[in-house]
Symmetry: none
Subunit: 115 residues, 2 copies
């Protein structure tokens, strides 16, 4: 996931998709690189779950899947101080975790390990 966002082309693709779904060709023609190159970027985005493909005829429409972003946002929230909804995330974190733990009482006691 974090690796998927590391590439500038992929980040740009995500921004493009923010306005709605686009066919693979429509995405590709907005970049200087070859179409297969874009196609593989799309595959990376697909495999990391950031994007979903929808087959319509011979076209492949790509659209954002916002869910995985939340994970990174939550991770990032550790480092960002109080502002916006990230703060809410941070505040919720403890609560949510506690609830979870209580719910699944007594399983999986993963221990620390300094590899």
């Amino acid at each position: 996931m974090a690796g998927a966002i590391a590439d500038p082309v992929r980040r740009q693709i995500l921004v493009l998709l923010k306005d709605g779904r686009l066919a693979a060709g429509e995405i590709a023609e907005r970049f200087a690189i070859s179409r297969p190159a874009v196609s593989r970027h799309l595959r990376v985005l697909r495999e990391s779950g950031l994007v979903r493909a929808e087959l319509v005829g011979r076209q492949r429409f790509y659209s954002l899947d916002p869910e995985p972003f939340t994970g990174l946002a939550a991770w990032l929230a550790q480092f960002v101080r109080p502002s916006g909804w990230e703060h809410h995330l941070d505040a919720l974190e403890t609560e949510v975790y506690r609830t979870r733990r209580e719910r699944r009482s007594g399983a999986e006691s993963r221990e620390e390990h300094t590899a």
Copy 2:
């Protein structure tokens, strides 16, 4: 910046520094890889502004610079659904829990669900 957090070792270093400053050696001994390898990760983090080094005697203390995180957080905010607390909670629960668990186990080997 985005490239800096793409690497799991570097992400882990950032998490370590969340609790306060650490000398280069203290950081390095928490990883299985060689000290020079960690040293170069630290350089990447330094050059991307996520971390700052402070020379004390023959030691180099590293500490977080939280400011650059805000930029990525802002970029990321574009993609997170702005509506629906319920949705947030539901979607976040798993992620937040996962983050917590990673924080405790210190390893982080997940993060690839490859649809």
